[in-house]
C-alpha cells in the first residue's frame, strides 16, 4: 500500500516536471488560449472508470467540465479458511457524476477541484461451496451459510482536488488531451454485513462488528484517481 501511494506521488512529480517543460514550449510558441475556447466533448479513462465528459473552456485560466464515469469489475474465487470454503465473488463498483473546475496557472498545468456524486460501492459475497466436515459429521452447505459485505463511502458527494496537464493537438488544436491525478475525499467507509449460518454473529448488530471494522478502516477515506481524457471541440 505504501509503495502504491509513493507511485501516486511520483506521478505528481513527473507530471509537474513534464508540464513545466510543456508550458515553456507552448509559451515559446506565442500562441493564445483564447483561440481554443469553446465547448468540447470527449471521453476519459480513469481509475474510477470509463466515461465521457463535456467541458467548456472559458479562457486561458478556467475550464469547467462535467461527466460521468463508471467501472464494474468482478472476480470469482474460492475463499478457503481452515476447513471451510466459500464460493466468493468480489464486485468492484465505482464511478459517479462529476462537476469540476480546472484552474490553469500555466498554459498547460492546472489545478482541478469540484465534487463527484460517487457511486462507489464494492461488495463481496460468498456462499459455502460444499458441506463442512465438522467432527464426525458433515454440515450441509446451506447451514454453513453465506455472507455479503458491502462498503459505501460516508459521503455521497465527494470533494475532489487534483493536478493535471492539458495539451492541444491537431492542426487546428481542436483536440485536447488531459493527464490528471487527484483525490476524492469520500469519508470513512460505512460497512454493512449480512450473513447467515456460521458467520451470522458477525452480522448481528449486538456484537458491533460493523462498528469495529469501520473504526479500524476509518483511515481509508480518500480515493486517488489517475485520469486520461481526450476531447474534441464541437463549437
Amino acid at each position: 500500500m505504501r509503495n502504491w501511494w509513493f507511485s501516486i506521488g511520483l506521478l505528481f512529480f513527473i507530471g509537474i516536471f513534464f508540464d513545466a517543460q510543456a508550458g515553456e514550449i507552448s509559451e515559446n510558441d506565442g500562441s493564445g488560449l483564447a483561440d481554443y475556447s469553446g465547448f468540447y466533448v470527449g471521453g476519459q479513462a480513469t481509475t474510477n472508470g470509463l466515461g465521457f465528459n463535456l467541458k467548456y473552456i472559458f479562457n486561458k485560466r478556467l475550464t469547467l467540465k462535467a461527466g460521468v464515469e463508471s467501472m464494474r469489475l468482478s472476480h470469482s474465487f474460492l475463499l478457503e479458511e481452515d476447513d471451510m470454503s466459500y464460493d466468493a465473488k468480489v464486485n468492484y463498483k465505482t464511478g459517479g457524476m462529476f462537476l469540476l473546475a480546472d484552474f490553469f496557472y500555466t498554459r498547460a498545468l492546472y489545478l482541478s477541484g469540484g465534487v463527484m456524486m460517487n457511486d462507489f460501492q464494492p461488495y463481496m459475497t460468498g456462499r459455502a461451496a460444499e458441506s463442512l466436515e465438522y467432527g464426525d459429521i458433515n454440515i450441509p452447505a446451506s447451514k454453513v451459510g453465506d455472507f455479503r459485505i458491502t462498503i459505501e463511502p460516508e459521503l455521497k458527494y465527494s470533494p475532489y482536488g487534483g493536478l493535471g496537464i492539458r495539451t492541444f493537438m491537431g492542426k487546428n488544436k481542436m483536440v485536447t488531451w488531459n493527464f490528471e491525478t487527484g483525490i476524492y475525499y469520500m469519508g470513512p467507509p460505512n460497512i454493512s454485513i449480512e450473513a447467515t449460518g456460521l458467520l451470522s454473529p458477525t452480522a448481528d448488530p449486538a456484537h458491533g462488528q460493523k462498528e469495529i471494522l469501520e473504526k479500524q478502516f476509518s483511515a481509508y477515506n480518500l480515493y486517488p484517481v489517475v485520469k486520461l481524457a481526450l476531447s474534441l471541440r464541437i463549437f
Partner: protein, 549 residues
C-alpha cells in the same frame, strides 16, 4: 526569469501537495488488523458453530429431592438414533462422564426429526450412590429439548426385613412360605397401599438352598418343618431394599408387539439384600427359586401393572409374577396406561411484557391431580411450544416456581392436551430489570476469531442460594432479567466443565459499566432503555482444543 519562477512554483506546489497527501493519509499506513487503541489483533469474524436444529439437555435428578445430582455419573446413549447423538464439536459420542448432574448434546443436523420419523434413543445412567437407571425417549420435532432422569439414591432406599409364614396350598403336598411386603404408594381414598410385592418359596426349593458352609441347610422336609415349628416368628427373614418415590413420566413401552410412548410410573424398585433361615444366611439357591408376586389393590386398576424389565430400549411388562433363580435379584414394579398418546398436542405460547429468555419447568396433572409427567419450556418471549406425546384428556399444567426472576405462574387448565392453543403470560418479579448480555468468547491462542455460542447457560447472583436461572444464548446473545447492583455469574457447561463469567449489574446513569472484572466487560444503553452488557471472555477450558480452534 519567468520560466525559472514557474519551475520553482511547480516544485513547491508538488511538495506542498505531497505533504498534504501523506499527512492526511497517515492512518492508511497503520495495519487495520491491529486495534487502533491497544495495538492488539482485532477479531475480524464472530462465528457461531451452532449447526444443530436439535439440542438435548440431559438433567440427572435425585428422585427424592428433585435436585440435580452432584455425584460422578456415567451417561450412556443407546437405541435406534444413539449414533446420531453428537457433541457440540460434531463428534459422535455415546458415553459421557459428568459430575455436574447434566450434560448437553446435539443431534446430527442431517437427521430429520418428524412425527413420522421420530428420533428415538435411550439413556442409561450409572451414578455413584444411585441405582442404575434407563429411560427411553422419542422426539417428534426439532428444537431445544430437556430430558430429566430421576435416579433413586441407594441411601434413600427403605430396608425391609420380611418374615414368612408357612402355608399349605390347596390340600396338596406343597408348602409355601409367604412373605408380605406392603407398598408405599397409598390409595387416594383410604391411604392404604395400592400395590404389594410378595415372595414365596416352595418347600422343595427350600431344601436346595445352601448356607455359608456351602452345604444345604436342611437335609429333609421334616428337618425344615421342625426348625420352623421351633421358632416360626423368626424362622425366615428376607431383607429387601426398596424405593417408591418415583414420579410418573413418559417412557417407551413394549405393548401389543410394538414399542410406543406411554404414561409410565415406576411404583417400586427393589433389590435383594439377604435371606436368613434360622439365623443362617442363604448363600446359594442351588437350583431352587424364589417366586415374587405383585398385586394392585387401588381403584381403578391401571391398564397394565406388574414387574417390568428394560430391554432393547423399552420396557417390557413381565406380568405379576417373576421367578428368581439367583439371590442377587432386583425388580421394578410399574403401572402403565394403554391410552394412546397424541404425537403432538396443545400449543402453548409464553408471553411477557419483558424482553427475556426463560426456562420454565412444569408438572402435568390429570383432572384428579394425579401427576402424569413433567416437561420444560426453554426459549425467548414470545415463543410457542407444541407439546409432544400428550394424553388425550384434560390436564392441569403447574409451573414450578423455581425461577426467581418471574412471578409465580398460575396453573394452566387445558381441556384436551391433544389440541388447542393456549397462552401463558409471565410477569417479572418485583425489582428485576431487563438486560441483554452479549458474549464473545476467545481461545487463548487465536484472538482473531471470536465465538458467539448458541448454547444453554445458567445465571444467578454470585454466592446466593437461589437456584440457577436457565438462559438460552443464541449467537452469543441472551436477554434476561436481573436485579440491579448485584454481582452475577453466568456459566455454560462444556461436557463436564463449567465455564464461568462474572459480571455486575452496576452502571452509571448513562449505562456505562462500573465494575471491572477478569473478563473484559463493557456496557451501553440500548434505544429501548435496556442495558447491553458486552463480555469478551477467554476460554480456559478444553473447549478450544475439542473444537480445534
Amino acid at each position: 526569469m519567468k520560466r525559472e519562477v514557474i519551475q520553482i512554483v511547480n516544485k513547491f506546489l508538488a511538495l506542498f501537495l505531497l505533504t498534504i497527501l501523506f499527512s492526511g493519509c497517515s492512518g492508511i499506513f497503520d495495519n487495520p488488523l491491529k486495534d487502533k487503541d491497544t495495538g492488539e489483533d482485532i477479531h475480524l469474524l464472530v462465528l457461531d458453530f451452532n449447526f444443530f436444529d436439535t439440542r438435548i439437555a440431559v438433567k440427572l435428578l435425585d428422585a427424592t429431592t428433585g435436585e440435580m445430582i452432584q455425584a460422578k455419573a456415567s451417561v450412556n446413549f443407546s437405541g435406534i438414533n444413539s449414533n446420531d447423538v453428537v457433541t457440540f464439536a460434531g463428534k459422535r459420542k455415546k458415553d459421557f462422564i459428568t459430575t455436574q448432574g447434566q450434560i448437553e448434546v446435539a443431534v446430527d443436523p442431517n437427521v430429520s426429526i418428524t412425527e413420522s420419523s421420530p428420533f428415538q434413543f435411550s439413556i442409561s445412567v450409572d451414578a455413584d450412590g444411585y441405582h442404575r437407571i434407563s429411560k427411553s425417549f422419542q422426539l417428534k420435532s426439532d428444537g431445544k429439548k430437556t430430558v430429566e432422569i430421576n435416579l433413586s439414591g441407594i441411601q434413600d432406599e427403605k430396608e425391609l426385613e420380611i418374615g414368612g409364614n408357612l402355608e399349605t396350598g390347596n390340600g396338596d403336598t406343597t408348602f409355601v412360605f409367604f412373605a408380605r411386603n406392603d407398598g408405599d404408594v397409598k390409595s387416594a381414598t383410604d391411604d392404604t397401599p395400592v400395590h404389594e410385592v410378595n415372595y414365596s418359596i416352595t418347600l422343595n426349593d427350600f431344601l436346595k438352598f445352601k448356607g455359608a458352609g456351602g452345604n444345604v441347610i436342611f437335609q429333609s422336609k421334616q428337618e425344615l418343618l421342625d426348625a420352623y415349628n421351633a421358632n416360626p416368628e423368626s424362622f425366615i427373614v428376607l431383607s429387601i431394599n426398596k424405593y417408591t418415590q418415583f414420579s410418573p413420566e413418559i417412557d417407551m413401552v413394549n405393548m401389543d408387539g410394538g414399542v410406543v410412548p406411554a404414561l409410565f410410573h415406576k411404583l417400586e424398585t427393589g433389590r435383594f439384600v439377604g435371606l436368613k433361615v434360622s439365623g443362617n444366611p442363604v448363600t446359594d439357591l442351588n437350583g431352587g427359586v424364589i417366586t415374587s408376586q405383585c398385586t394392585y389393590s387401588g381403584d381403578p386398576a391401571p391398564d397394565l401393572f406388574g414387574f417390568a424389565e428394560f430391554v432393547n430400549s423399552s420396557w417390557t411388562i413381565l406380568g405379576a409374577e417373576v421367578v428368581y433363580t439367583q439371590l442377587s435379584f432386583s425388580y421394578t414394579v410399574v403401572e402403565v396406561s394403554e391410552e394412546a398418546l397424541c404425537s403432538t398436542g396443545s400449543s402453548i405460547t409464553f408471553r411477557s411484557n419483558v424482553v427475556s429468555s426463560f426456562s420454565i419447568d412444569a408438572d402435568i396433572y390429570d383432572s384428579n391431580d394425579n401427576l402424569l409427567t413433567t416437561t420444560n419450556f426453554k426459549g425467548n418471549f414470545p415463543e410457542t411450544f407444541t407439546v409432544e406425546n400428550t394424553p388425550n384428556r384434560a390436564v392441569k399444567v403447574v409451573f414450578r416456581n423455581n425461577n426467581p426472576a418471574f412471578q409465580p405462574i398460575a396453573p394452566l387448565l387445558i381441556s384436551n392436551f391433544c389440541s388447542g392453543s393456549h397462552e401463558v403470560n409471565v410477569l417479572p418479579a418485583a425489582g428485576y430489570q431487563q438486560y441483554q448480555i452479549v458474549l464473545k468468547a476467545f481461545c487463548p491462542d487465536n484472538a482473531t476469531i471470536a465465538i458467539a455460542p448458541t448454547y444453554s447457560g445458567e445465571f444467578k447472583i454470585k454466592g446466593s442460594s437461589s437456584p440457577w436461572q436457565g438462559v438460552d444464548l443464541v449467537g452469543g446473545v441472551v436477554d434476561l432479567l436481573g436485579l440491579p447492583d448485584q454481582e452475577y455469574e453466568l456459566r455454560m457447561l462444556w461436557e463436564n466443565d463449567w465455564e464461568y463469567t462474572s459480571l455486575a449489574t452496576k452502571f452509571d446513569s448513562n449505562g456505562n459499566y462500573l465494575h471491572p472484572y477478569g473478563s473484559k466487560v463493557t456496557s451501553m444503553r440500548l434505544p429501548d432503555g435496556r442495558i447491553r452488557i458486552n463480555i469478551e471472555h477467554t476460554y480456559s477450558q478444553s473447549v478450544c482444543s475439542d473444537m480445534g480452534w
